[in-house]
């Protein structure tokens, strides 16, 4: 036991991200035993590593290395092991690749470090006796959920598909919607250890080249040991990562991604994450839901205004209520004020404390119901809303009017379809409440100006996030604050697709032109 401890103590811990140097000069030497030993030492201490040695017809040894779970073993047996075992002629790399091994992705490799990386990505490394190159062939087997409904952006009308964690499947989904050779996908790899696959997706001729270049450059600058998906890298891409306001659009719906690409935006997708990033992001777009484009234009416009009103209500209602009740109650009609005062008669806390306590309680309930399994979460929501609220009012801990104000402000934010905007608003309402409780209406307006300055200072990949409000662009309003019929929106956003603006041919209308018969 003592000796074992001593032995452990002298093993120097390996720095994160650094691969242990093999005993050879780092290359496949052609000496089978030595290369085997080098590879085994490189991959030591991994119980999921599988090694098997087979022989060809002429007795040459062939070693196969792969990680269990990453390789489809049935295909390996059928397409690799069996052909090698039945082959008679002396082997060459070309023969193996072109005639013997039946795998689409394969290639010779002589660096031990590259072999290690390929193995980690799900390849099979094949070492041949007498050859100074090893082969890597890919026959991956990933466990992935199917195409499911989006949890965070579900709709009643329109497609229900959402992305999954498999990047290739997601890219195929995009290609199924956009059957154009102008759809370009640039692959990258980020993460020294995780080697996460990333894809930059855009439409050539619509997306501005400088935007694509900027995305590439920002991604290339990321030098980190591991990333988990696209949403993880958003803070590396944002101009102001400390800001609570979103600067990138996140979606897991293919239809939203396609619409963004057709407007001239660029998407970043990553393996292991169903969420993809869309740049640039304009804050007023947080009011747009995928459903708007499957609804009647006037109904969609109404819904957008409802969301805008709800967002404003959520941020400013608690603060304004405190302001009115505590500072400017002269404005409230006497009958209303009397009933508010009567409701607060037995409440022991000042209004501000009451509001803070209730808001925090509400957010706790929301957070708990999000984390809990859906069935329990619903139950918690009901318990929180009905039992906690009613009991608190009956116990005179809070007033009924404050319950209504906080519940309304808390629920209103969930009309927004953008989860990142929802989170920002949930935090902002506390800021407004805090300042309003000190400075009354002055504080409420102060907070509004402060938030506006912050939003106005922000850029998303060089574009001001308040566009089309500031800088003002009335044409941009037509698909933000209004939802005009598509026949009235013949152009793409000017800001994004300056070189290829027209999306609808001139004269395309649902009704017949002059002189054409109107009857069926």
């Amino acid at each position: 036991m003592r000796r074992e401890r001593k032995k452990r103590a002298i093993v120097k811990p390996r720095p994160v991200g650094e691969i242990q140097k093999p005993p050879t000069d780092g290359e496949i030497s052609g000496h089978f035993e030595r290369d085997m030993q080098a590879l085994q030492e490189l991959l030591a201490n991994s119980t999921d590593l599988r090694t098997s040695i087979i022989r060809t017809q002429d007795g040459k040894r062939v070693a196969l290395f792969f990680y269990a779970g990453l390789v489809n073993q049935q295909i390996l047996n059928h397409n690799v092991i069996a052909p090698i075992q039945t082959h008679k002629a002396p082997l060459t790399v070309e023969d193996l690749l072109e005639r013997i091994i039946k795998a689409p992705n394969g290639g010779p490799e002589s660096s031990l470090e590259s072999l290690g990386t390929s193995l980690a990505k799900g390849a099979v490394v094949i070492l041949f006796e007498g050859l100074d190159q090893a082969l890597t062939v890919t026959m991956p087997q990933f466990f992935d959920r199917g195409i499911e409904r989006s949890q965070s952006e579900d709709v009643l009308i329109g497609p229900h598909q959402s992305f999954s964690e498999d990047l290739n499947k997601n890219l195929a989904l995009v290609r199924r919607y956009l059957k154009s050779p102008r759809l370009k996908i640039k692959n990258m790899e980020i993460g020294r250890i995780s080697k996460t696959e990333l894809a930059i997706v855009y439409i050539e001729g619509i997306a501005q080249e400088k935007l694509v270049r900027e995305v590439e450059e920002r991604l290339n600058r990321i030098d980190i040991d591991f990333i988990i998906g696209a949403s993880y890298i958003s803070e590396f891409l944002e101009d102001q990562p400390l800001s609570i306001m979103p600067q990138l659009k996140l979606t897991e719906r293919p239809d939203r991604l396609i619409a963004a690409l057709c407007e001239g935006r660029v998407a970043i997708m990553a393996g292991g994450d169903p969420t993809c990033l869309i740049v640039p992001f304009f804050m007023p777009e947080a009011m747009q839901a995928a459903e708007d484009y499957y609804e009647k234009p006037l109904i969609a416009t109404f819904l957008r205004w409802l969301r805008l009103f709800s967002a404003a209500l959520s941020v400013f209602l608690p603060g304004t209520w405190i302001t009115l009740v505590s500072f400017h109650h002269g404005i409230i009609p006497p009958t209303l004020f009397t009933s508010i005062v009567a409701g607060r008669e037995d409440v022991p806390f000042p209004t501000i404390i009451e509001a803070f306590l209730l808001l925090i309680a509400f957010d706790i309930v929301i957070e708990a119901s999000t984390r809990l399994p859906s069935a329990v979460g619903q139950a918690i929501g009901i318990v929180g809303a009905i039992i906690l609220g009613q009991s608190a009012v009956q116990a005179s801990l809070i007033s009924p009017t404050m319950t209504i104000v906080v519940a309304l402000a808390g629920l209103a934010v969930y009309t927004l379809p953008s989860p990142s905007s929802v989170s920002a608003i949930r935090v902002l309402k506390y800021l407004v409440l805090a300042i309003s409780s000190v400075l009354g209406l002055f504080g409420t307006v102060w907070a509004l100006i402060f938030i506006t300055i912050n939003a106005a200072s922000m850029r998303s990949f060089g574009y001001p996030v308040l566009f089309p409000v500031a800088p003002l662009n009335v044409r941009g309003w037509m698909d933000i604050f209004l939802k005009l019929p598509n026949t009235w929106l013949p152009q793409r956003p000017h800001f994004l697709a300056a070189e290829n603006e027209r999306r609808l041919n001139q004269g395309v209308t649902p009704y017949p032109g002059k002189g054409e018969p109107r009857d069926a």
Partner: protein
């Protein structure tokens, strides 16, 4: 920057907080004719906007300091820039002081005015630290909130209007009209000077002169409408007796039994417009000083100028002294621009003609 965005900022800067005192400034001279005299003042002001925009168009886009240097030479340009910055700095201090004091009196008597001044000052300083572009975008975004508030305020006021208060329409002495125009002269001035400043920054200038002139007209029309409604609701005597007749105007209105007064609509409007004008004034002063003394970098420039602004804003102890301070900025520092701008325009025109002949 596009010329339409510049026009919006000029509109915002001209309207600013002017709609609060304008009616009271005109009524002592021209009584019920105040609204059209106000319109006339702004129509006349557009001549200066035209000159300012033309001057801006003569220099390469981007730097106000360089443009002034091109018009006036190295020494005179420094004097001009210093004067220009001083006008805006004192104006921003005056507005900061005025907004805080009035808000303290009408809405927050228990809160010390210094707290409001410092809070308001922080916003202005914060804007300047982000630079002129952020300031422009903030102003545009807030303008979209302010315009419906003004429209709502006007519409709810119209209900209580007695239009006979606006009669007689033309029974005024021309001398008094001239006096009224002179005394209301400082009101279009921020718009004119902002047009001068922005015209040198705008890249897309094909319609800049018309956009700027139209924005001043639009501001003048809105302000004249507010003057007309104020007189129609309060009458000339009541309007004259207040510094800010818009406040009793708001207090006199009732909408059903929902809100007892519409001060709730006017308070935010007062703060929003106060911020818009004060921030624009301060940031313009800061940018001008930046052009004058390039070595004075941010954040030191903002902090230094901010300190001066705060001290100047704290100095006035009541509304009277605040109004006096704004008068200093308006009449001693501002009014001479009505002479200086035409003089520079003629000078630049002559220089241009001389070059063409050569």
């Amino acid at each position: 920057m596009h010329s339409l965005q510049a026009a919006l900022v000029i509109f915002a800067c001209t309207v600013g907080t002017v709609y609060f005192p304008l009616a009271a400034a005109l009524v002592p001279f021209v009584n019920s004719a105040s609204w059209w005299v106000s319109l006339l003042t702004f129509l006349l002001g557009s001549l200066w906007v035209w000159q300012a925009s033309w001057l801006g168009k003569q220099s390469p886009a981007g730097d106000f300091g360089m443009a002034v240097k091109g018009w006036l030479g190295p020494i005179l340009s420094k004097v001009f820039l210093l004067w220009f910055a001083a006008y805006w700095l004192i104006l921003s201090s005056g507005i900061l002081s005025e907004v805080s004091l009035v808000f303290h009196i009408i809405a927050l008597p228990a809160t010390p005015v210094l707290v409001l001044q410092v809070a308001f000052f922080f916003l202005v300083l914060y804007t300047d630290l982000y630079g002129f572009e952020t300031c422009m975008r903030t102003v545009q975004a807030l303008l979209i909130l302010a315009v419906p508030l003004i429209a709502g305020f006007l519409l709810s006021s119209v209900v209580a209007a007695r239009w006979t208060n606006l009669l007689p329409l033309l029974d005024v002495d021309l001398k008094e009209v001239a006096k009224a125009i002179y005394y209301s002269g400082p009101y279009p001035l921020p718009g004119i000077l902002m047009a001068l400043f922005l015209s040198t920054q705008v890249e897309e200038r094909s319609h800049i002169i018309w956009h700027n002139v139209l924005s001043l007209w639009a501001a003048g029309l809105l302000l004249s409408l507010i003057v007309a409604v104020t007189i129609a609701v309060l009458g000339c005597c009541v309007t004259e007796s207040y510094y800010y007749p818009t406040i009793p105007l708001a207090q006199s209105i009732e909408i059903g039994n929902t809100l007892v007064g519409v001060e709730i609509m006017v308070y935010p409007l007062w703060l929003l417009s106060g911020y818009i004008k004060s921030a624009l004034a301060f940031v313009t002063a800061s940018e001008t000083i930046g052009g004058l003394i390039p070595a004075l970098k941010q954040p030191w420039r903002s902090l230094g100028l901010g300190l001066i602004m705060l001290i100047l804003a704290i100095l006035p102890y009541n509304v009277n002294s605040t109004v006096k301070m704004i008068h200093i900025s308006d009449y001693y520092l501002g009014m001479p621009f009505y002479v200086i701008i035409p003089a520079i325009t003629i000078w630049v025109m002559l220089k241009k003609r001389g070059k063409q002949h050569a």
